[in-house]
């Protein structure tokens, strides 16, 4: 296996495995948020605001993996 193939493999694995955790996290976050909106529709505005913040923070973890993959392909 030459170095370039190893780089591409590493980038693919980094993105794939790195998306697993945030995917589970986003699923839990959205599930809980919708559950609480269904339970208490009158505070849905507050829940939605904090849900969006949570989405942004969780999603960023997957994007760190994306940045690592980009670094592996183009910089390393």
């Amino acid at each position: 296996m030459d170095a370039n193939a190893a780089k591409l493999l590493g980038a693919g694995i980094a993105m794939g495995v790195g998306a697993l955790g945030p995917g589970i996290g986003l699923g839990m976050l959205l599930g809980k948020a919708y559950e609480s909106i269904a339970r208490q529709p009158e505070v849905s505005g507050d829940i939605r605001t904090s849900m969006f913040i949570g989405i942004g923070v969780t999603e960023a973890v997957a994007l760190y993996a994306f940045v690592v993959a980009l670094i592996l392909i183009f910089v390393a």
Partner: protein
């Protein structure tokens, strides 16, 4: 009669789609995603020491964003009406979001002091993000292309540095130098543990800077990379059917990118407010 017409149109559409699959497409265009984000200087300027002063497209995008923001602010503030027009109402809603939704809901004290910075960051990031979705002629050979100033790590790092500096400035100014840093660790903890917590807190402060900048950068970069790939796919596939299907996908992704642009500006502003508010009212 009417039903027959619908069936006829559907059949005609299907035949047209099938025909599209057999018509050979246009010229194959070479496309590389990485090239879209390379910064070639548009105007070469001499560098002062390590600082390169050349005007790249990121600089131009920042200028356009700032100019658009200034023009909108002046026009809206000069033409305020008791019964708002549609545009004034939109800007007022965003202003209220920054005032009540971001600063008002997160910060306990110093709201009036820090509202200008938080709102400024919110509107500037929002404008730069949305500007990235308009094709502007700053790509290679002055072709139209997508680029966002916030899809550049230096820009987002600069914005995050503002928040980082202002956080500690606000904390030191309100609580005093010694008390601010002492409050990083809870006073009730035993001495050895206190030092450990202090170090952990110091590291987390630096990582806030990294996460705040990389989050915005990676979101915009990933979005624009996907957008570029989809638009270019329609060119690269030598087939009008594939181009049609992919163009539909690129419209969906474009709409999702509008959402991401707004959400990321909101998150940047609200996290800045959380950090500055946390430095003002230390809980220990």
């Amino acid at each position: 009669m009417k039903r027959g017409l619908v069936v006829a149109w559907l059949a005609l559409g299907l035949v047209a789609l099938a025909a599209l699959a057999f018509i050979p497409g246009g010229h194959k265009t070479e496309f590389s995603v990485a090239q879209e984000f390379e910064l070639q200087p548009l105007i070469e300027l001499p560098s002062i020491g390590p600082v390169d002063l050349s005007i790249t497209k990121a600089v131009v995008y920042l200028w356009i964003a700032a100019a658009a923001l200034i023009v909108i602010a002046i026009v809206v503030s000069r033409t305020l009406k008791p019964i708002p027009s549609r545009f004034q109402y939109a800007v007022e809603t965003l202003y209220e979001l920054a005032r009540e939704g971001i600063v008002g809901s997160v910060m306990k004290s110093g709201q009036a002091t820090w509202f200008p910075y938080i709102a400024g960051a919110f509107f500037f990031v929002l404008t730069s993000n949305l500007l990235g979705l308009i094709p502007l002629p700053f790509a290679e050979h002055h072709q139209f292309g997508f680029y966002a100033a916030t899809a550049n790590l230096y820009v987002t790092l600069g914005l995050a540095l503002f928040t980082f500096v202002f956080t500690h400035y606000a904390g030191v100014k309100k609580n005093g130098l010694v008390r601010y840093f002492r409050n990083w660790a809870p006073p009730s903890a035993p001495p050895v543990l206190k030092q450990l917590i202090f170090v952990i807190h110091a590291v987390s402060e630096v990582f806030r800077l990294v996460s705040l900048s990389v989050r915005l950068f990676a979101n915009m970069l990933a979005g624009h990379a996907i957008l570029g790939v989809f638009f270019a796919m329609a060119l690269i596939f030598q087939n009008y059917l594939a181009a049609l299907v992919l163009q539909g996908g690129s419209i969906l992704i474009y709409m999702f990118e509008i959402f991401v642009a707004c959400i990321q500006a909101f998150i940047f502003a609200i996290l800045s407010a959380v950090y500055i508010g946390g430095a003002l009212d230390q809980e220990h």
